[in-house]
Symmetry: C2
Subunit: 330 residues, 2 copies
Amino acid sequence: MSSVAELGERRIIDLIIENLDKHPRMAVPFGDDVAAVSISDKLVAVLKMDMLVAKTDVPRGMSLQQAARKAVIMNVSDLASKGVKPIAMLTALGLTRDLTKEDMVSIGRGLNAGAREYDTYIIGGDTGEASDLIITCMVFGLSKPDTMMTRSGARPGDILAVTGLFGKTSAGLKLLEEEVKVPERLREALLEAVYMPRARLSEGLALAGSGVVSASIDSSDGLAVSLHELRKMSKVGFRITDAPIASEAEEFAKHRRLDAYDLALYGGEEYELIVTVRRGCWRRAQQAVGRAGGSLIRIGEVIAEEKVVLQRDGREEVIPYKGWEHFKTT
Amino acid sequence: MSSVAELGERRIIDLIIENLDKHPRMAVPFGDDVAAVSISDKLVAVLKMDMLVAKTDVPRGMSLQQAARKAVIMNVSDLASKGVKPIAMLTALGLTRDLTKEDMVSIGRGLNAGAREYDTYIIGGDTGEASDLIITCMVFGLSKPDTMMTRSGARPGDILAVTGLFGKTSAGLKLLEEEVKVPERLREALLEAVYMPRARLSEGLALAGSGVVSASIDSSDGLAVSLHELRKMSKVGFRITDAPIASEAEEFAKHRRLDAYDLALYGGEEYELIVTVRRGCWRRAQQAVGRAGGSLIRIGEVIAEEKVVLQRDGREEVIPYKGWEHFKTT
């Protein structure tokens, strides 16, 4: 009998899904960033529930308020990747007995802060006693059936783009693990990325509104894993021609003699959007995101062969399906 | 600094709520069985998220499949108490590392079984590693603004009623704790109540459809606590003239020399609906529930004085706000 620790998160999810009857009005398949169900000819209810477990998802030095805020961001980011505005949120708190009254206030404040940053509200929830601090949030939104971006529509020749650069968070997490000496300014930038992640909601809404995005995913499982997930759902491949590496990640990599590409590709807990834009529509997509106050960065293209490759120093290397996965220990 | 263990669940929830900005389109106040938000003039989105923590909510001998099913029932029951049909559900699973592949299948089957019993489906979710098994579910439904039953509308003179008799579950839990000898037939009935609770969805939909219910709550916190919650939200009181005690609870009470009233009043994990029916509308309410295949049992009346009293053996006693509360140890 395989245990959860050997199965890995993806196999566990498959085992659950295999035993579920399928809703006749499911508007996106299992495995997308959100769940959705048609409630009329013109309206889809979009639902997402994501769980923050303190022992695995809260890095050292993160305050309770930041942790609660992060639980909100994780959920908002998934709706952002579909181009759906969050309308309201709930939270379920698994609380350890040692938490104090002040801790409860911090959690309440963090939840509220995260929600209000994205113009939504916490409207209910549940609490219970648990052995870990667990903050589960769910977010609800509405979409028209044809404007929601999914993971399934990328076609060869489409442009591959992201809403920001990668690697600061994984560098920040390494910094916390190893306590290496780096310039204070760099340290602050990296820890800010870890403690105060941001969801790309304006960008996602602008991209959905532009009508030229063929597929979209949030990057919370890391750039490499997210591209592979997009590959599986769209049945295409990707060639990265310009890896989106944050300058801070490069600087940190130099200090620690690491490969900055590894930091950018195999991290996680970064909440950028990864999208594919229809051929010939690049300017429209870029302008839409620009008007929303963000930036859209072209990093490569969609290819027919179902693999992810990276052009680097004149060579092409295959990017493995690798990143952070819960449970898996081998 | 008070810890969570001293604060008790209600105070914890208040501490969170005090720090939340209020959604301008919240359709029911904090503290009702569900959260709800207006999405148009004619439509309210109804959301509920409830968490099952194995170490506190899963009694001895309950299978994983039954536990997963129960997590669904808990959520459906809250929608039932508002008269709202569940459309779709999500689940977030906190999983311990020792769970096996077979355990995952049991959890998937239990979730699906619970959802399908109430004509709904699990359409998505999340998993993570945790120190306890935690099954959080959320359920989504839609309602017209004026048909949803809330906790707030009871008026003096209304009839107090329930959809079933109480006490089997608390008797069953006692049986599991103490392993007393009782007739096999009784044992089976009590354990069935514990392991296979049922939500009163048909009854709730029928009651909302009847248009004669002034307030409604589900009884999962126990009859006494639920009546006090209804009292607080409606600013009325209740006189129980005919305590709804299940014959099995009476039989068990005799065996164990317990007070059957205590089993019925101060239990919990029973998913009956407690409603108030407008004066002169009793037959309409009762017939509506009867047509839906259930029964509505008159147990007393709404009074102006804000207390809960019980008529018993020709005397009247005050029923305290007492029942199962998470965390509270004193």
